[in-house]
Symmetry: C2
Subunit: 417 residues, 2 copies
């Protein structure tokens, strides 16, 4: 990362773009997409989660690679349409789909996963085989419990996501018999903080239902929603696509036969490691307790989860000098604080960094390509930073998104007809 930052500073690629830059390695993304493709049967639809990273230019690359996308709102659906994803390669998941949204998705032939029995009733009232080619499934909550992070664990008994399986197994079987248009199941238990065993148990539980349902109904689509944990620390060894596919093949053999239409919804494990953020150290201030604070230009606006749930989330941090050379040497403990008027606005409250970190240097936040800027918070009306793409060593930099202008911010808060 340091070499890329150094080159971007040398070549003026960051221009007058402020003090924070998101860098995104498009060749790494391509490599991960290829690995994903190779791990699963070639007919698998890989519907990449737009919510992890909605940058249009990045979605475009995913589309060009022949993949689909998963959308969780009408805004995300329009992003998919703008990029040009084929409608049959788009999957619409949301727990609050309105009748109008369902009607629109059915008309376009977008894939839909109903979140509840009530939503299935609505779809039944709206669906007609002559006017829709949508593949429709139902999200099933296997109720296999939570992982190490509460706020991303979606397979608890009281989850708002999916039809809880234990109480509703028979109802679900009846529903599949009653609704001929219902051809798919969807499962998603959460990804970060989940062990491979938990992920497998979640999919396996719904798979067993799927096998049973197939004996009497037309169900053919299996959507392994949810993804895999991303690696945020050197010490972590998250399961890879190929290993995951292998373990699924053992536990759920039918999924890998031509009679099943397989769908995946990875996001974090594709994007996280491709993105990183450089932000200028504006001030180094000494606190009464002896631990210096580095004040940078990004914080709880981009790293919402890290700032609000610091014990659940982690990003490695390093420091480069003002020319982009990695600082090494004697280390000491620092706080790294963001720019916002908010006491919770820290990237890290205790991190070992080179002692000579100083004003004008850059703090580098690693593994920031997923669920970071996609959650951007408008607090303090700061400008969204530029996203700068590159393909690997020595290749040209390309702005995937410009820095937001202040005029844009003023427009946002004054838009009245």
């Amino acid at each position: 990362m340091a070499d890329v930052l150094a080159r971007s500073l040398r070549e003026g690629a960051v221009g007058c773009s402020g003090e924070t830059f998101v860098f995104f390695d498009l060749s790494r993304l391509q490599n991960l997409l290829d690995r994903l493709k190779a791990a699963f049967p070639p007919t698998t639809l890989h519907a990449v989660a737009v919510k992890a990273n909605p940058t249009v230019e990045i979605l475009r690359q995913i589309c060009l690679a022949g993949h689909g996308c998963e959308v969780a709102s009408i805004g995300e659906l329009e992003l998919a349409n703008t990029v040009g994803f084929p409608h049959e390669a788009v999957v619409f998941d949301s727990p609050v789909k309105t009748r109008e949204e369902l009607e629109y998705a059915l008309r376009l032939g977008i894939g839909i996963n109903a979140n509840s029995l009530g939503e299935l009733e609505r779809i039944d009232a709206l669906y007609s085989p002559s006017s829709s080619r949508s593949r429709i499934g139902v999200r099933i909550n296997p109720e296999t419990g939570k992982g190490s992070i509460n706020t991303t664990s979606v397979a608890t008994h009281n989850s708002k996501f999916g039809v809880p399986m234990k109480k509703n197994r028979d109802t679900l079987l009846r529903v599949f018999s009653a609704y001929k248009w219902l051809t798919g199941v969807h499962v998603h238990i959460g990804s970060q903080g989940m062990s491979p065993e938990q992920l497998l148990e979640g999919v396996g539980t719904v798979y067993d239902f799927f096998v049973e349902a197939r004996q009497s109904t037309e169900v053919t689509v299996f959507n392994i929603g949810g993804g895999l944990p991303a690696k945020y620390r050197e010490s972590e060894k998250p399961i890879r696509f190929a290993e995951y596919a292998d373990s699924l093949r053992l536990r759920c053999p039918d999924l890998f036969t031509p009679s099943v239409s397989l769908v995946t919804e990875f996001g974090r494990s594709l994007h996280a490691s491709c993105g990183w953020v450089a932000s200028k150290i504006e001030y180094r201030v000494e606190s009464s307790d002896g631990t210096p604070t580095l004040l940078v230009h990004v914080g709880a606006d981009m790293f919402v989860r890290k700032a609000y749930r610091p014990d659940d989330w982690h990003h490695d941090i390093s420091v480069c000098d003002s020319k982009g050379n990695l600082r090494t040497g004697t280390m000491r403990t620092f706080r790294v604080a963001g720019p916002l008027c908010f006491a919770g606005d820290y990237l890290d409250r205790s991190v070992s960094l080179p002692n000579d970190a100083t004003e004008g240097d850059y703090v580098i936040v690693h593994d920031a390509g997923a669920y970071t800027f996609s959650m951007w918070s408008l607090y303090n009306s700061r400008q969204f930073p530029p996203i700068i793409g590159y393909e690997g060593p020595g290749t040209k930099f390309r702005h995937l998104r410009n820095r937001q202008s202040v005029e844009d911010i003023v427009k946002f808060w004054s838009c009245v007809t």
Copy 2:
């Protein structure tokens, strides 16, 4: 609120504006601004915190009422300029002001509070009395400790805000002697979660320093930054403007004499109770544990703090039917969940609401006018809801901000030159 919602639905004021509406009572805001004005000496500059609520049409009313504003970024400064606040009525606070930003603020004559000794050095290098009419102060951290909410407590020993007083008292006195342009002190310890005694202790500690500094320097401006807690529960009795001013007058008598230029920076206590949010119940789903979940169209996107730190923040919730009539009758425990693909997306995980709450009804979130939509998170690319102003019973509704269009969202994620 129910009567206002009912009328807005009857009159079609919410139009085709989606399923979530922010309502804002402009007459209540005017009333609170008047009460604030009456509580302090007439020459006091009330610089209302833009970060609490940056809606331009609402800022316009504050400006027309003769008040100023406090800004925490260049984006907020441009909002102030758009509205037309006189430059001398604008106060720029931020812990990461760049040299360019300082230069710009000095040129315009915007008030500045330096956050650190390092920032004072920068200002000294940039300032010239002939080219700037800025009133410049320094933020002092009285180190009086934290309140009941960690993430809004800014007067701890390790705070990133202000010059810690205990170690730097003599340095600060020297600084005031050395920099003739330095004429103000600023103090802010946090508001929500702070007792009146704590607020008074924070201001009082810096006041004692101020009195001492006045004996040998030109310091004349005292900025009581930070505000007062807002009332979020019926049982809470937060201190009012007049009571607060009275207690300050006792503890810090000089502040109320003509020789001192007093500045305040209220935000939460002005805006919170003026705003409330109505969001349609899209689905009522039964969970395995017997507690039903109401799924609505707003959640962790607008209520970032409530969703991520549910134990720190509270909003009362009530339910109206589809015509806006308040539901009463037998109560039971519900969960109220937002629309996002995120397990932490709850407005409340255990709230007593009328048992007959059902699809098509509206959930009303009380006291939502401050630090809610101003922190809007882009997660899931959902449309920012309309903000609808009204002046009191029977008056006309006025859109203060339209609902965001999906085209706008697409533009946000694809803006490249």
